[in-house]
Symmetry: C2
Subunit: 373 residues, 2 copies
């Protein structure tokens, strides 16, 4: 078989707007829909790469902002790049640092050229420009890298209009700055909760011929309905033959709703963060393992789950680990939560292949007890 060209996206099945595909990267074919666990600081919290492989993860995200500050992009590059550094042999994605600069730092100055900000770690001053973000991401060396964008509060119409124009100019500069042929640069669509802005952004960004597109600035406080409207508005415009990445979204209901609207790639800290806060994810909702009711429960988190944790440990044991403040609690619950999302994604793929995703998704959403995040 002749390998498909690098970063070509091939759609292998459809069910209304949901689709299955294969995105070809230097570190292997990425089967979509896909959920990427987040390794903020070049490590998925409490889980080894071997455990990630075992639970079925195929794509891992790491944060440019965090790695730029610590250990520094030069160190990662010198250590052979991010794949080698964290020992992840499969596809990787880095964000641009845009979201973190606007959400984690004290910003000193936003101007047309870039953003000057204060490190959340030690208060030192730094400056990111589109060119700098690409430079850092090229040193890190992920397969998929992202444009540097300005993240505006979702309901501020004026700010979103202005930020959008800048985000578009910055996207062009990122494209210009990018030189590595073994990285795919995805363009990010912004526009807050405003469908016209979202469509304007989708039209502009998709005109630049990126190998993939991302929807940024969602799951940041807007309603579910506003999120769905924004996704629908954007996906109406985006070309079918490029992968679509919904950034920072990863609750089970949001993943299913995203796939239903034509999203291919998701990432989120939710499964590992919930695990560190004693919450297990299941196909019907969350389970708070600290609950006294589990103290003598010999049952696993989910009797139908095939993950390492559910195959070997009771709720009573997991609760004991939490109460006793054992690190192992975070590891075992993270393994379960990440496996659960992989399983959900696999079910979704099967439903798309059988062309009954609408039925599958409405059934799933009916059974799923949504939780406040």
């Amino acid at each position: 078989m002749i390998p498909s060209p690098l970063f070509r996206f091939e759609i292998t099945a459809r069910s209304v707007r949901a689709r299955c595909g294969i995105f070809n990267t230097p570190h292997g074919e990425l089967v979509t829909p896909v959920f990427a666990p987040v390794g903020t600081q070049a490590a998925v919290k409490a889980v080894t790469p071997a455990q990630l492989e075992e639970l079925g993860a195929t794509l891992v995200l790491s944060n440019t902002y965090h790695l730029y500050l610590r250990p520094g992009a030069d160190t990662v590059e010198e250590m052979g790049g991010l794949h080698r550094f964290m020992n992840w042999k499969h596809p990787m994605l880095t964000d641009s640092g845009g979201f973190q600069v606007f959400s984690l730092t004290k910003i000193r100055k936003i101007d047309e050229e870039g953003v000057t900000f204060k490190s959340h770690i030690d208060g030192s001053m730094h400056r990111f420009t589109p060119e700098k973000s690409i430079e850092v991401q090229q040193k890190l060396g992920a397969d998929i890298i992202m444009t540097f964008d300005e993240c505006a509060p979702p309901y501020d119409s004026n700010y979103n209009q202005q930020a959008l124009e800048r985000t578009h100019r910055w996207a062009e500069r990122c494209l210009e700055a990018k030189t590595r042929p073994d990285q795919a640069l995805f363009g990010i669509i912004q526009g807050g909760v405003f469908p016209e802005l979202r469509q304007k952004s989708a039209r502009f960004i998709s005109s630049l011929d990126f190998p993939g597109h991302a929807i940024g600035g969602l799951s940041v406080g807007e309603t579910k309905s506003e999120m769905h409207t924004a996704i629908e508005a954007v996906n109406e415009i985006l070309p079918e033959d490029k992968p679509r990445y919904l950034m920072g979204v990863g609750s089970p209901e949001d993943i299913i709703n995203g796939i239903l609207r034509g999203i291919d790639i998701f990432d989120c800290v939710l499964p590992t963060r919930l695990a560190r806060h004693q919450a297990a994810m299941t196909m019907t909702g969350r389970v708070n393992l600290m609950n006294q009711v589990h103290a003598r429960s010999a049952k696993p988190i989910d009797e139908n789950c095939l993950c390492y944790t559910c195959q070997n440990f009771s709720r009573a044991y997991l609760r004991h680990l939490i109460v006793a403040k054992e690190i192992l609690a975070s590891t075992l619950i993270s393994i379960h939560n990440l496996f659960m999302l992989q399983h959900l994604i696999q079910q979704a793929r099967s439903a798309i292949q059988a062309d009954n995703f609408e039925e599958y998704s409405s059934q799933f959403l009916k059974n799923y007890q949504s939780s406040k995040q």
Copy 2:
């Protein structure tokens, strides 16, 4: 092949006083010398049972005192016993709670019957007697359980004399109280740094026909020379055909010195505790991974080590995880440290089988840079 009788100890090789053996337990044959990682609260800190199996651990210790307080022996029993509860399918050992009661708690009253103490967790009052310790250990269900002893400060001669008499009476009561045929009760020898007391204790304890013997109260502040003298004094008396367990000892040099003097079983929190304090163990000494010199080191902890950590991660990455306060640092360094001790023990076994353990041990101790603990 006819399986050897339960708890029979067969010596398979000797090199002067060092020996290799097989101790037959309900959860499989235990090859000695053996080092047991410590799972204080029914979990080896930051390491899964699958990782423990992969790094070659065969015996795991858990603490009766901690499990009695949390989650409680009844809960562990109800969950199918300690093996099932923590998912360790191989031999297990529980201590009696003696050492913890005397080192972790505020003691209210020691009397001939037992000890009344305050929980270090919530200040609640509890009472351990020899019978209670055995009752708890029978509920936990480890393969090897220990007599309840009084732990005296190592240099207090008068206290050690009195504590010894009581420890001996308590050993008899433990033997009397024990009913489960699938558990081996080991007798503990005390006596501080006093060789005559140690020999007196060894004579008395070995007269009770336990299936194995332990040396308690060492590595608690005495000098190396005092430790070696005590071990030699005891092992002169103890029968050859029973396993000898040196409790709470596990630095590389102490293990080699123990094997040299006829010890078969070791346990210690050292490898996992050091890992949580950024120290990696190697065959030549400790490496402080926080040292700036490792910040851009592409080398693993030990270039000759075959553990998961050394095969896949650089010192630069491990240092980054430590600096970034990632839980994964504890996991990866614990895996290495535990593997290193397993490797050391395997080398020791090979040297005993080749009948050149004295040469091996003097070579090892010459190369090893001892560290203050």
